[in-house]
Amino acid sequence: MFLAIDMALVIEKLVLIVIVVMATLVIAMYTTFAERKVAAILQDRRGPNRAGPFGLLQPLADGLKLFFKEEIIPNFSSKALFILGPALAMLTAIMTGAVIPWGDKVHFFNRDISLQIADVNMGILYVFAVVSMGVYGIMIGGWASNNKYSLMGALRAASQIISYELAMGISLIALLMVTGTLSLKEMVLQQQNEYWNIVYQPLGFLIFLICAFAECNRTPFDLAEAENELVGGYHVEYSSMKLGFYLFAEYVNMFISSVVMATLFFGGYDIPFLNEANYDQNWMALFGVLMLMAKVVGFIFLFMWVRWTIPRFRYDQLMNLGWRILIPLALFNMLVTGALILLKHNGWHF
């Protein structure tokens, strides 16, 4: 072998990658099902319960339906860009799963395998950068459709995303001042030893939550996919699986945002009130993963709960909220956090 890496590491990482990608896709699929069920329950009706027991095969039916539809590519659009748009959206959605600590270490085959594909020491920055690239998927889709309405819809969606990225970034800075590290694994370890970051950064969490709604194009910020849909919107010219990719990428984004929020503010795979070192390592790792999934399910339910309660924003209200309210609030949060940290270092006197 010309690489100075041992084969066991390569195999371990490959298996982990396959598992994480498959799990992300399956969870996103069942999130679409959960969306319909939760929407139904909140609206005094039952959701789909005919396809398979309790309707559990419904996402399969939806996926197959999309595969069987006809692939239409408009004549005067740029074919390469047309296909690239949804591919980019899906790519950036799944790529973020690479740096998230899904669990603690497991011990198999005499090796300690950590359940994180890449423990880079700039984890949060990587997540942020990849999510920003998701804008390209929407913009390219809108441009390649060769349609005035698609372009307008894509422009609106893109402007919404970049406006809310700023407030998200600034609230993250406040969080980073508290944790002192960008690596997601370090953050989870710190939260295991002290309190969860929600205790130190409640306002930061609120701002991050609102910005996550905007980044995922979820109600109340979903004018890119709902209102414009009445006229156009960036995915009006798409059919079959390309449309499926756009819609699916939204759910993957939602899942990843929930995981990131759970990791940053709610302790990731940490089980509260339990000292993990006292028990068997593998079982604790498994429970950690399940605990993370429980938190993610809670967040996803929150996403859906808010969607079916609140009406959506007008475009100027949305921009107003992003620039004139959230950014000053995030800056204020950052300043207060900085002041409190300095005070703490000084021993709590001026």
Partner: protein, 184 residues
């Protein structure tokens, strides 16, 4: 100008308080309301397993009746065809031959009796017009089909099963006719 009544409400033009302006309190209250709907009873009926109860006088598919010995009641008098506002019933009469006394009640019977379900409006006037208690509307729907000509129901499709030769099916097809007569 003077108001006619004193029911007009004064519009509340106060500026929003701080708690109202941040909308988070209102959003939270709204979310509580939506959450409470999870625990309310759903009015959905799981259709093929359960059906919605119909009243005893529901007008569904037609049935040609027989008497207790199993002879057909219908004498092809044509009153139902005349009464039908949609002209859905057609029939041809025939004379009862010597050996057919246990098949037909009177000397005239309907050799061909057809109802076009696509024309029928399920009004029940044929049931009201019949002097022999030979046709009545039961409680089943007309099932869907792929071709128009399948909707012309012939006499065999409409006749009630024989009460002596096929008693369970007869009873099932009779349905709640007794309840309806009591209701009437």
């Amino acid at each position: 100008m003077n108001a006619l009544t004193n029911r007009a409400k004064q519009v509340d033009r106060r500026k929003m308080s701080f708690l109202e302006r941040i909308y988070l309190v209102a959003i939270f209250k709204g979310m509580m309301i939506t959450f409470s709907h999870i625990f309310k009873k759903k009015p959905t009926i799981n259709y093929p397993e359960k059906t919605r109860p119909f009243s005893p006088v529901f007008r569904g598919l037609h049935i040609l009746n027989r008497d207790e010995e199993g002879r057909e009641n219908c004498t092809a008098c044509g009153l139902c065809a005349v009464a039908c506002p949609a002209e859905a019933i057609t029939m041809e009469a025939a004379e009862r031959q010597a050996g057919e006394e246990d098949l037909y009640r009177e000397e005239k019977y309907a050799a061909r009796y057809e109802i076009n379900m696509l024309r029928c409006i399920f009004c029940g006037l044929c049931e009201e017009a019949c002097p022999k208690d030979a046709i009545y509307l039961s409680e089943t729907f007309a099932p869907s089909d792929y071709q128009r000509k399948q909707f012309i129901y012939k006499k065999e499709d409409l006749l009630i099963p024989h009460p002596i030769k096929q008693p369970e099916e007869y009873k099932k097809a009779l349905g709640n006719k007794v309840k309806r007569e009591k209701a009437n």
